[in-house]
Amino acid sequence: MKELSLNILDIAQNSVSAGAKNVTVSLNEDEKGILTLSILDDGKGMSPEMVRTVTDPFCTTRTTRKVGMGIPLLKMASEQAGGSLSIVSVSRETDPEHCGTAVTATFDTNSIDFTPLGDVVDSMVVLIQGHPEIDYLFLHTTPNGEVRLDTKELRAVLGEEISLGEFEILAWIRDSLEEQYQALKK
């Protein structure tokens, strides 16, 4: 993947497939340049065996072919930038009240092999467009401040009849996130 934001989009699709109602995408950059990415969902989760094998490129749930690359690609991006990837998951069978998956990857942004974050705003807009019924919390914290989007707040304003997937709403979301990123640069 050319941008880390594409990995984010890709991994968050797994949360969608797991039937999540809430997905949290968080990015945290500290003063030393360590970036921590986590994607959390309340989907059906995975069994311990599945968690063990999911970093293997030959593990996939897709039915069109037998190779899945999402997690292995993120793991590679993280490890080549001096970080690591971890997955914690509770399956619905184990605990239907608290099931879900958390994928966390760390990166040293000073590493020459760090994949640039790229257009994370674009990825969030695509995620919401694809599944406007899911609630997303996006949080990017940096030493200069934070960028935040909580679709629950938007939904409270929009009510039932206007979907988050409407072009005008997606445009508002894009502008809102971009303005917040601009403010960080000042």
Partner: protein, 121 residues
């Protein structure tokens, strides 16, 4: 800064529009492959261009844009499929934003399939 009050204004403006759309038949469905293969090949800008252009061209009353998983032709990604009532599915391969704009203009608006970008299955 974008405010929730602004969002409220958008909501008021859109109420009528959404009702009109629900009354009309959606005759065209554009589907973009957004699995790992599609994303890695450049599907994200293609999807965003289509969503944006459909709205700009005033097609949102008859066209819906959706995402799908792996279509099974990873080497041809980004793939865009067009479904229209009463017509055969059209599969566009190796798409980019410029090609997507041309497809919207000539096929979706003009009714003529852009055969340079299609694949026969």
């Amino acid at each position: 800064m974008k405010t929730l009050a602004e969002l409220e204004a958008i909501r008021e403006k859109m109420r009528g529009k959404v009702a009109v759309r629900e009354a009309s038949d959606n005759t065209t469905r554009i589907v973009v492959g957004m699995a790992t293969c599609g994303i890695a090949a450049g599907a994200r800008p293609v999807l965003n261009t289509i969503v944006e252009e459909v709205s700009k061209m005033g097609l949102s009353e008859t066209v819906t844009v959706t995402q799908t998983g792996c279509i099974g032709l990873c080497q041809y990604e980004p793939i865009v499929e067009v479904y229209q009532t009463g017509k055969d599915k059209v599969t566009y391969v190796k798409m980019d934003s410029e090609k997507a704009k041309k497809v919207l203009e000539e096929h979706i608006k003009g009714g003529k399939v852009v055969s340079d970008y299609t694949i026969k299955l």
